[in-house]
Amino acid sequence: MAATDMAPGRSRWGEGLLLAAIALFCVFPFYWMVTTSLKTQVVALADPPVWWFTPTLANYAEVLFEDRVGVALVNSLIVAVFTTALAVALGCPAAYALARFEFRGKRDLWFWFITNRFVSPVVLAFPVFLISREVGLRDTHLALILMYLTFCLPIVIWICTDQFRSVPRELDEAALLEGASQWRIFRSIALPLAMPGVAVSAILSFIFAWNELLFAYILAPNRAKTAPAMAVTFMEGYDVPFGKIMATSTLIVIPVLIFALLASRHLVRGLTMGAVK
């Protein structure tokens, strides 16, 4: 390593300070979110803002049990879990085929999958809104789960294709000689070996489904309302309840941050669709 020119003393302190500043820049808004969620409305509306106060969990109790944020979180959970399960179930075999089989039109198929990364949900939202009314899926979990496949399925396919490519082929060739079917090879050999990639793609899929707002806002206004859509409704009205909004935000963000930290090395890969390894 090029550690030779490390000047001792001052530059090292400077570097440490810079690192601390970077970390603070990233983390401070979360600190402020959590502390605001522990303030009463009176404390939250102190001018200037206060940094030391007696924390209270009243906002959490209120949003969870009175404002139906608890229900919205359960809706979010249902949608994110089923989207992820469906995306993995459909995406893994497709990824295996893309990694292992030779067929015509593979390139075009690949293009199409990638293009989904670019399509804005707002383009699909209104036609889907109209269709969902026609087929009776308006305001259901299923409508959201299906629409979330538009971005979760491509992620699973990309990440898993990469992973299946790294599974040694000698294993399936040996199995083929033994007379195993492709499905058998996929299930019993490739899939278990590709599990790390499958897990990462599932985590990313969960994060993206959990975070989604636009489809939820337009397609699920009441019964199936998810937590981000619920948080938006607090903004409507004159007296903006800072503490309650931040309590809801904290409840929404905690699970994704945990998953993001678990998959921290792969998050960028997922967001760039494999352009960055």
């Binding site: 067929f103 707002v122 109209l130 935000s249 998050l267």
Partner: protein, 291 residues
Amino acid sequence: MQTRVSRLTLLAFLGPAVAALLAVGIVPLLYAAWKSLHDFNLTRLAQQRFVGLDNYAAVLTDASFWAALGRTALLFGIAVPVQVALGLLIALTLHRPGLSAFKALTRLSLVLPMATTYAVVGLLAQVMLNQKYGVVNQMLGWIGIDAINFIGDPTNAFVAVVLWDIWQWTPFVALILLAGLSTVPPEIEEAARLETKSDRAILRHVQLPYLVPSLVAILILRTADTLKLFDMPFTMTRGGPGSATEFIAILIERTGNRQFDIGLAAAQSILMLALTILLARLYIRVFYREV
């Protein structure tokens, strides 16, 4: 070598995923394309009629459509250079050897903003940028700057969206660039460091060529994400005040969801989709050539 398999096997593996994506990704688009040829407003459903390309003509001559596109481009033009500059600084700092435990922690913190629910990021802005009760204005006060009305003033609201976009996506850019820096073969970098002590010379002549793919990736992904940008400005300002932060995705949402003009919104969507596909093609051409 890759395996050739029977059509049936192929169908079994790929069929379900392709069918699902066709149903949720393509069918609605075709429906939108069809509706974009109609005068179709949800407030007068009975009067639906075929109008050909009238909606497209209306969109293309609509000043607010071009204004929203221009605003989106302006956001991109200001935020992305700042993200690249700051991101490069962060990436170079993290790339240097030493302090590795501290650096691992910093890297971990970089992951947080981009994973955060975009809607929550906008809500955070509401709370932190509030003129009277916001902590950002308090901090500005410490260095002698008067409180700024971030959300209520058109220019300031736009600046606030730019700042918030920079907060959320600079770490992402930094991590992409860091990945790029790690593709420089260590022996080349070491040899260069024996020649010169100047970090700037090493960046320009040794590292920059290896950063080109990362920079292109950043450019194209940020373009796509800026075109998609909805949640953060929507929860922060609802596109206002006036139309100061009405980016293209918010304009389409307003047309369809708040003016109920589905035909017009569909035409806007299709035009935006065309732009998006153009960019996606570019992206694929640059990055996935080998597939």
